[in-house]
Structure formats: C-alpha cells, structure tokens
Amino acid sequence: MTFNGWLQIAVFLLLILAVTKPLGAFIIRVFNREKTFLDPVLRPIEKLIYRTTGVDEEHEMAWTEYAVAMLLFSVVSMLLLYLVQRVQGFLPFNPQKLGAVTPSDLAFNTAASFTTNTNWQAYSGESTMSYFTQMAGLAYHNFVSAATGIALAIAFIRGIARRQMETIGNFWVDLVRCCLWVLLPFCVVGSLVLVSQGVVQNLRPYDKVTIVEPQQVPHLGTDGKPTLGTDGKPVMDTVTEQTIAQGPVASQEFIKEWGTNGGGFFNANSSHPFENPTPLSNLIEMFCIFAIGSALTYALGHMTGSPRHGWAIWGAMAALFLVGVTVAYWAEARGNPQMHGVDQHVSTVQPGGNMEGKEVRFGIANSALFATVTTDASCGAINGWHDSFTPLGGMVPMVNIMLSEVIFGGVGSGMYGMLVFVVLTVFIAGLMVGRTPEYLGKKIEAYEVKMAMLFALVFPLIVLLLAAVSSVKGFGTSSIANPGPHGLSEILYAFTSAAGNNGSAFGGLNANTPWYNTAIGFACLGGRFLMKIPMLAIAGSLAKKKFVPPSVGTFPVTTPLFSVLLIGVILILGALTFFPALSLGPILEHLLMNAGQAF
C-alpha cells in the first residue's frame, strides 16, 4: 500500500462528499416538481410523453397502485428486451450481422437481469449483441431500471415525510422526471467527457487491422484444442490481422455507472481499454457509481426535515466503505504468496501485488477501490476480475453485496435497503430502552417490523438455497472453473450477485447453462421485486400514520451513536446469515493459500 494509493482513495471519497449536497438538492427539486434550470428544454418533452402515454400528472397513487404500475412497466419492458434479442438479426444497426440471441434461456436471463438493474452477463457483448440491442435494449434498461429504483426510494422517503396520507406519489411521473432530469442530461455531457478520454462511440463495423508482427499460433480444431499434424506437432496458423470490436460504447458506459447498472458493452467490462481507457475515466466511472446513492442521503434528510439524519446515514456508509476498501487494498497489495520468483513488491516502477486479471493503468489501488465501489453500490461493473483476486480481496466485494448493497448502494435500491435497516435499528434501540420505537415522528409498529424482516429474509433465502443446490448437484458443480474452496466462492458469488441485483461475477463460473441462466434469472427477479413490495408496504403504512412529537424516550437518529448502532445492525444481520458459507469459501481458501496449498 502506498501514500499515492491512499491519496487517490481519499480524493475519490472527497469528490463523493462534495457532490452529495448539490446533487441531492437537485434531486429534491425534480421529485417535488419544482422549477429547475433545465425546465425550458425538458418540460415540453415531459408534457409530450404524458400526452402520448395517457398519464395524469396530478394523480396521486396509494402504495398498492404505485407497486402495480411499477410491476406492469417492468413486465412490459422486460418482454420487449427479450423480443429484441430474439429478432435482432432483422433489426438495423447490426453491421456484424449477429443473429438472434440463443438459447432462449440466455435471452431470458439477460432480459431478467437488465430489467432488475442487475446486468449479470452470461454472454459476451461484442460477439452476441447487435448495436441495436445494446442501445435500445440494454442501455435503455440501464435508464429505466435505475429510474425505477430511484422512484421507489423517493416514494419511501415520501412515506416517511407525509402525515396521515393515503398516497406516496405517481410512479409514471417519478419515472419520467427521473429519466429526463436526473439521468439524461448528465449522460449526454458525461458520455462526451468519456469519449474525450478514449471511450469509443461509433456505429462502424469491427475494424480489421494488419498487425505489426505476424504471429504463428497453433491451429485450433472445432473442439478448441490444438490440431496435430501427421508429424505429431501442432499445425500452425499465421495470423496477420486483428479484429477490433467497435460500437456506441460511451453512451452506454456513462449510464452503466450513473445508474449503477454495470453491464459492460464488452465482455471485459470496464477493464476494456475502449470502455475505460485512462485513470481519469476510471475515476469518473467510480464517481458516477456513488454519486446518486450518496445524494439520496441528502434528499432523505431534507425531505423528512432532519438534515442531520441524512448525514448520520452518510457517515455510516462512508465508514463501511472505508473498511471494505482497506481490506481489499491490503489483500491485493500483499499479492499471492504462491508466486515464487516473482517480484510483487511495490516500487516507483511498478504497483506490485496480485496483478493477475488486472490492468497496468489501474494497478492495485484503483482495482481494489473499483471492486469495493462497484459492490458497495449495486453496480457490478468491473475493472479487474474478482475471480482472480486473492481470497480476502475477493471476499470484500462478496461481503459488500451480502450486506444488501446499502453502502451508498444502488441508485434508489441502496437508499430503501438502508431505510429498512434503519427501521430495524430504531426497533432494536426501542427494545433496549423498553419504549415504542419511533422514527422521525412515526411510530414503528409490528407491521413495519414484519415487512422489514420479510425484506431482510428474502435475500439470504434466495442466495443460500440456490447456492446450496448448485454446490451439491452436478448441473451446478460442472460449471466451476477453479477447484477447491474457490469453487464454492464462485457459486456463492453468482447467486449473491444475482439476488443482490449487482451483476458482477466470479467470472470463471460457466454461467451460460440452462440451470444457471434460469436460476440466476429468477434470483434477479426475486431479489428485486420480492424485496420492493414489502418495502413499498412500509412506505404506504408510514404515510398513513400520525406525527408523534419527539419525547425524552425517542432515540435520536442524528447522532454518531445512531450511526454506530446502524453499522452494528447491518454487520450482525449480514454476518449471522452468511458467515458459515464464507468460512467454507474465501476464509478457508485464504488459510490454505498461506499454507501453500493449491487445487
């Protein structure tokens, strides 16, 4: 670990701190339907959308109607994505003449994963998806799945803020205003900034270039193995060309991070030089992943009339973030003790550490930081392969997702996930002093706590059940790429990532099989919608309640003590649920790696 490495991490966190207030204030204005400087351009478009889609912008919805509208929109847009993939061969913007996405379980998996903001990818972008599918199918869902998450977080905040009301907003209005104000303008400017760094943005066919030094490579047969000649030596091919995949990448790249989606245009995601060409583009991408999630803490504080509560939550998030990045950075900088004769020491001429599956321009600090950020939030973009991280370095992203991605969190989903933990924290604090728990003037009663527990239990249930089945059945274990405890980590990570709607992977696992495509697809859907409904139910129930003025028995939610208790609840709930599985996977592997064991 180096001073420069820590400085880069500190600069990153300071940028997030700096954006929280201005962006949060902007988000509040957008959802309160107040004037913003973008109105002259966007207001006419907004009105046009309402007119063509039949939305009454003055109509307010109860939580049930809000949930139904959200579900209907998700179903319709998911079906469209499935359809687009299956007929992309007949659609425009397909210079590589890519055919339909097959098999159908892969197309289902992709549709489910992008609709739920997961962006799990069992396919390789550049060889599977046409430019049309990437733009109108995948990048489109990057917008609307993010907007859906943010809308729901705002609806939850309204539920806390409102008193004795039946309604929590209008889903369609929240969706449209989020897309037009919070996402689109930033994406137009941001993607051009990324292009200035070297992220490509074009519609040209893949370029064929003549490489400088022609290469002799073994000829591979249809089975992927080198073909042997009659003399028993491998047959060699002379390679003189390289095909370079292109595409409208920047426009997808920015929303991929700004909306914490994470689905790469290319298979290598943000490690690909065309997606993330420079250290500055890397900083911008990490910044985008946290920006909205962080701003929502400010929005929470101000919309509920308790700004310091927002900052108390921000503090808890920042503390958990720092713990994660410290462990990951330490583990990766330490390197792999089994690489003998290899110089893994940091110096002025190399970052050292575990460089398998990492890029030189990012080195150790930025790879560890990116892995922490992308899993604190529900992003899932990667700039290095988590599967090749050291056991503890790879455990950090996994644990981040297991804690429900509430550390700044996915856009929207991080906020409402955190609010469920807040409800539980207030409840536990209430039990400790023997008073009815209150939260910002609302009594927290049996109904809210039941719904919060349902929310908290759905996630581990999906993860552990499916991971357990996969790790004992042949159709699960046959996909493992790395044997030993690491194999269990691969399976555990896959379902954690899917149910947590993250989308990053221990990529060695061959997930493009009927079992994994289907199981992971359903894990994505369950992790998204089964958790959203109890969350909206809490919001609806809170909105109806009377305001109770704080008394001496009220546990204040604006103090560092509250932040510490909140962290405690998050860690205890996460640890109790997942520690046994983790001890058989990454923790065991760490001990065995140090003991010189390989598998």
Partner: protein, 195 residues
C-alpha cells in the same frame, strides 16, 4: 389497472425511442464531430493501411520487440473477444503456469526477480501497457537484438513512459505498441544473419 397497462405499453415504446435510439445517436453524432479520432478507437495507420489501435494490445513475440502482457482474449489478443483467465489464486493451473513462465523469463534475464505484470494475464486481455519495471526487465534482450546500447534504449523507453494522470491518478506505464513502432522507425531490426 387497465389504464396502467396501456400506459405501461405506451411508456415502454416512447421511452425506448427517446433513451434507446435518440440519445445514443445524438451522442454518436456529437462525438464524431468533437472527438473523431478518439470516438473511432484511436486507430493507427501506416502506408495507407490500419495497423492497430493505440490503446489495444496486439501480439509481439519476437526477441527484438517489447512484449505486451499475456492475453486470455480469445486465442490471445482477440480484440473482438475480450476477457481474462479468471483463474483463482489457489488454482494449480495458475501456479504451474507462473512457475513455467518464471523459469523461462529468468533464463533470459538471470538473477533478476520477474516483475509481476510480466507473467500475469491482464483483465481485458488487451492491456496496451506494461509497467516501467516490466520494460526495464525486457530491455537487455531488445537492446541486444537491435544492436544498440541499453542506455540508448532506456532513453527511448523513458520517452514512452507515461506518468500518473494529472500527477495523481493511476499508475506509471509504457504503451507497448507505440514503443515498438518507434523502435522500428529509429532502430530497425538488423538482418538475422549477423547473429
């Protein structure tokens, strides 16, 4: 309910047109006007034909060239098939591969520990850069092959060493393709017969 179903269908269509088509096409047009070279992948042409992208690694195996990092993209450096090995830290295949490559590297450059990025595969399989340590490790071989002094070559490598961006971000690095192209123009490879 019925009204919300109709809205859901219409909303999907309208937003797909706006966010899925208008937005990316407008950004493409702007990018092509503002940053045409970058937006098209920083392709390098020589004698009228394209020979590569500045930021995409291509294979070099000859002793007279600097070698990029190992690649697991397709059959190696396949820029239409990016990816890494995804080998875990306790995978015997990885440990054995490293062991073999270390032995080979040390026979070329005895006594020196091998820089870690020299024997590990990159994440994208297309990493255009190597560390300055890696360049220094390869330097004696290239100098020997090109009949130039190590100091002469070190100067050239230094010219192609890029520091941290804005003095702070990322890690120092050497772009392999640019360095090799510059080598070919300044110190062309001699006929093999002399060796």
């Amino acid at each position: 309910m019925k009204r919300n179903i109709i809205t859901a269908i219409l909303m999907t269509i309208v937003t797909t047109i706006l966010l899925g088509l208008v937005y990316p096409l407008v950004v493409t047009a702007l990018a092509q006007v503002l940053f045409p070279h970058k937006a098209n992948g920083q392709l390098i042409s020589q004698d009228g034909k394209l020979i590569g992208s500045r930021i995409i690694a291509q294979p070099f195996t000859g002793a007279g060239y600097f070698h990029p990092r190992a690649s697991a993209a397709g059959n190696g450096y396949d820029a239409a098939n990016s990816g890494g090995t995804n080998m875990g830290p306790t995978n015997r295949k990885l440990i054995n591969r490293i062991k073999q490559d270390v032995t080979a590297a040390q026979s070329e450059n005895p006594g020196k520990p091998v820089p870690v990025d020299y024997i590990t595969t990159s994440a994208s399989g297309l990493d255009p850069d190597i560390t300055p340590a890696n360049a220094e490790f390869q330097l004696p071989r290239v100098a020997r092959e090109r009949n130039i002094s190590e100091d002469q070559l070190r100067q050239l490598v230094l010219q192609h060493t890029e520091g941290r961006q804005l003095g702070l971000l990322g890690e120092p690095r050497v772009n392999v393709l640019e360095l090799n192209l510059d080598l070919d123009s300044k110190f062309p490879l001699q006929k093999r017969a002399s060796r």
